[in-house]
Amino acid sequence: MKVELTVNGAPVAWEIAPGDRLLDSLRAHGCASVKRGCETGDCGCCTILLDGEPAASCVVATAAARGRNVVTLEGLRGDPLLARLQEAFLAEGAVQCGYCTPALLLVAWTLLQSGGPVDEATARHALSGSLCRCTGYVKPLRALLAVAGRPGAQLRGGRGENGLRGRPAAAPRGEERP
């Protein structure tokens, strides 16, 4: 079957099999920045922008993307905000293996692009759907906050969900310092 959609600004018509996932279709068509980490929607490595919103492309059927607008990191080449994020990621040491990096950049870009106020909590929240096994998130968060106008921000930590994702934390963080 054929499916028509817009990928990185260009209309494409792909020959696909029913059941093909957007992740595989994108990778097969040269979008190597979209990575496969779990195929169950849990790791975030395959994040793309689907009509402007971050989405896990491994759980989107390619057929369901018909007529929609898909942007991957390749499509943001030359974007000044992305360039600043990329520079900040390199300067802050936010890249280790780099496998999660395209996804982290995309969600960071989306957060900053939205223009709302960005602090540690919003930044953590934005990254919370993207796993990184290498960095402990400190340096990616610092890079994001630096581009958000908070260079050298002191990170106070997340709520501590202990893997109980989606559950409300038992209490707000203790703010007192001796």
């Binding site: 990621f89 293996c97 993207s130 709520r159 038992a170």
Partner: protein, 782 residues
């Protein structure tokens, strides 16, 4: 090979010690196709593995007729198609200390997820469909899932005689590896001690969960040589093991490692490469195999679960006089790293508190569960959980500050470690002398950063707050075993190619090695072009494991760069009529004693076009030492007494890894290790059901830390320059993963007075322990 004195100070060039940007960073932030699966050769086939649904069964017959009739299917192989050559998949130096208990496709499956058959097809879909079309007849065997049962029973053998080479119990029982080492007189010392503390600790199976799965593509080049592009930590070991199982010479095999999306030990093993290689040879086509996340959690490697019984004798003043550690470990279905991981549980751990009387005993058994192997820390996180929990129990019993007990006992500069001498990579090791230690300072600075001894309020009425500490040490490579080589070659413009076998798996070794090279030659980092881990193009390296790369491979790079410098100095000395030793290299210039100087470009042109010689050097480096890096780690936690949930609020790591060649990359190693260890402490565990199946083979049920889970991290580098390391460096990759679990559990005990001895400390376990304590308190009050 003699160990020359390495360069002590970084000197004026300032590349070593700088937060240089990763040399591979630009490609990674641009999302360029630099990983194994990002580029596919023409006409590539897709492979899939048919996994055993049974924990223990003989494969009587495989009928692939229906699968082969599928129009997309090209090949199906099972054990009858492949010569059974015993080997180990563990990527270790030859001769490997792991038992040869594995064949490419087994005649008997030994865990749910074990290999039954492998398919190559024109599309991934066809390969997946083919799996359902393979008819297998199994003869079921009784399965042993519990290590205690495995140790007891000899009526069911997971690896039976005739003895596959090197199994601890000789194939007459289920023991894969056994260790028993005594130093001094433990029984006597325990009898004479003022206090004897004995506790049993349990540590779980966890999985490395690098985000890039195992993935490999193999093909035949135009000359018919086998090329394997793969996400590995051990390209050279892999080539050697492939040669053995495929019965073709190493000369006919080329292994290429592109960028790797994390390894953490799980890629220190031939997990899939033999299958793609075999299929490429049989079909003549390129073949690609990638594991799914479920396959990763079932059929990649797990950290060995252990039961550790620790018996410690202490004097009233807090001095530790005897330690007995008895380990029952589960290696799962095969013995990858069985001996050496378990050896590390004692060898890397017990020397932290030197005492004259030690007894270290290990029974590492096979069970019909997924295979355990290497995972960052390599046995040490298990041992340190026991030891560092125990020290807190001791401090409590003696009424001492836990930090004081540690200060009193910990190893110091000049001390030796008696276990290393008895335990190498499965043979007798070398005596380890601590030549550098920043541990005392790390304790002081870490304690200050966490606010040790200062009472703090919990942030809500149902929360209790506590502080905990743990110390750790590791090694820098395997003394007398790990070695590496590097080649440096000068180009016309004064730049150099640095060719290293060392394996960058994300930790940043290409960058660190380039920094060492640039520093030694007086070049900026941009003038060093790194090529790593291609068995056709780069010299040998054992690979990325045992915290060896900066210390061992870095030593090779420094030597090669110095040799090159010597060659250039000799050429210039002839030209300038001065002594070669008098020529200095810095700021991209060579300077003679009389002030004459040439840019490196001019030096290169002189060498290449006047002297007509290619300045190039290859050097090898091995160290008979494995200087330990040290860590003092501190946790500030809150425990919810109503739900048992634990919230780590702040975590401090003070780490002595010698001089940090790149402090930012080093911090990144520490922060990432803490994130992984946080899961070990609180929420990661691979769960196995009573049929031997993994119950949680996905990231929804097997949790790893997200950005929300991470506490405030404070990372302090406390460098004690190591005299035997390049520019004073030691290792950093593993030591910070050892301390967080005991530090957090000690903080829980400090907060609510319950000692959890089984990881992870899930809310259920903490809540249960709180309830039992409440009952005990009530009983003693009445």
């Amino acid at each position: 090979m003699s160990v020359e004195a390495p360069e002590r100070a970084a000197g004026p060039n300032g590349v070593v010690g700088a937060n240089a940007t990763r040399v591979d960073g630009l490609a990674l932030v641009r999302g360029e196709p630099v990983f194994t699966d990002d580029v596919h050769p023409e006409g590539m086939l897709w492979a899939k593995v048919l996994a055993s649904p049974h924990a223990h069964a003989r494969i009587v017959r495989v009928d692939a007729a229906r699968a082969l009739a599928h129009p997309g299917v090209v090949a199906v192989l099972w054990h009858a198609d492949v010569k059974p050559i015993l080997h180990t998949r563990a990527g270790q130096s030859w001769p490997e200390p792991s038992p040869y208990d594995t064949t490419v496709l087994p005649e008997k499956v030994r865990h749910v997820g074990d290999r039954v058959a492998v398919v190559a097809a024109r599309t991934l879909r066809a390969a997946e469909e083919a799996l359902a079309l393979i008819d297998v007849e199994y003869a079921l065997l009784p399965a042993i899932l519990d290590p205690e049962e495995a140790l007891r029973r000899t009526d069911v053998l997971i690896h039976e005689a005739p003895d596959p080479r090197g199994i601890g119990g000789g194939g007459r029982d289920n023991v894969a590896a056994r260790i028993d080492i005594r130093v001094g007189d433990v029984e006597g010392a325990l009898a004479a001690a003022d206090l004897v503390v004995e506790r049993v600790y349990h540590v779980p199976r966890v999985q490395a969960s690098h985000l890039e799965p195992h993935v490999a593509i193999a093909w035949l080049d135009p000359d018919g040589r086998l090329v394997v592009k793969t996400s590995t930590q051990v390209p050279f070991h892999l080539r050697r093991i492939l040669a053995r199982v495929l019965e073709i010479p190493e000369a006919r095999i080329r292994v290429i490692k592109p960028r790797v999306g994390g390894g953490f030990g799980d890629k220190q093993e031939m997990v899939i490469e033999d299958l793609v290689a075999l299929l490429a040879l049989r079909t003549g086509k390129p073949v690609r195999l990638e594991m799914t996340r479920a396959e990763e959690l079932i059929a990649a490697r797990h950290r060995h679960p252990q039961r550790i019984t620790l018996t410690t004798g202490v004097m009233r003043d807090g001095r530790i006089v005897a330690n007995r550690m008895a380990v029952l470990a589960d290696t799962g279905a095969y013995g990858s790293h069985a001996l050496t991981v378990q050896g590390n549980t004692g060898q890397k751990v017990l020397p932290l508190y030197p005492c004259p009387n030690l007894h270290f005993h290990v029974d590492c058994v096979y069970t019909n569960t997924p295979i355990c192997g290497a995972f960052r820390g390599y046995g040490a996180p298990q041992g340190f959980f026991a030891l560092e929990s125990q020290v807190d129990v001791i401090a409590r019993e003696l009424g001492m500050d836990p930090l004081e007990v540690r200060r009193l006992n910990h190893i110091r500069e000049g001390q030796t470690d008696p276990l290393s001498a008895r335990l190498g990579e499965g043979k007798s090791g070398l005596v380890r002398v601590v030549r550098s230690s920043g541990l005392a300072e790390a304790i002081t600075r870490g304690a200050e950063a966490i606010g040790w001894g200062r009472k703090r309020r919990p942030s809500a009425p149902h929360l209790r707050r506590g502080l905990g500490v743990a110390l750790a040490m590791q090694g820098s490579g395997i003394a007398g075993v790990d070695w590496a080589a590097a080649t440096v070659k000068l180009n016309d413009d004064g730049s150099v190619n640095l060719l290293v076998g060392a394996t960058d798996i994300g930790q940043g070794s290409d960058t660190v090695l380039a920094q060492i090279c640039a520093q030694t030659l007086g070049l900026p980092l941009s003038k060093v072009i790194v090529l790593s881990s291609d068995t056709d193009l780069t010299p040998f390296d054992v690979g990325a494991y045992a915290s060896s790369t900066t210390y061992v491979s870095g030593g090779a790079v420094e030597k090669a760069a110095r040799e090159l410098r010597g060659q250039l100095a000799a050429i210039l000395a002839g030209k300038w009529g001065c002594a070669a030793e008098a020529i200095a290299f810095a700021d991209e210039r060579a300077r003679g004693p009389d002030g004459r100087s040439l840019s490196m470009r001019e030096v290169a042109l002189t060498a290449l076009y006047e002297a007509k010689t290619q300045p190039a050097a290859t050097a090898s480096h091995m160290s008979n030492e494995s200087p330990p890096p040290f860590a003092a780690q501190f946790a500030d936690v809150e425990v919810d007494v109503e739900t048992g949930e634990v919230f780590v609020r702040r975590f401090v790591s003070a780490v002595d890894c010698g001089v940090a060649i790149n402090p930012q990359l080093t911090e990144g190693q520490i922060e990432g290790a803490v994130a992984q260890a946080l899961g070990y402490a609180l929420f990661e565990e691979v769960l196995i059901d009573d049929q031997g199946r993994v119950r949680n083979p996905n990231f929804l049920d097997y949790k790893i830390a997200t950005a929300m889970d991470m506490p405030e991290l404070v990372t302090l580098l406390v460098p004690a320059p190591e005299p035997t390391g390049p520019y004073g460096a030691k290792a950093a990759g593993e030591v910070p993963i050892d301390g967080p679990a005991p530090a957090i559990l000690n903080a829980i005990a400090d907060a609510v007075g319950v000692r959890i001895t089984r990881l992870p400390a899930t809310p259920e376990r903490v809540w249960q322990a709180l309830r039992e304590k409440a009952k005990r308190d009530l009983a003693s009050a009445s």
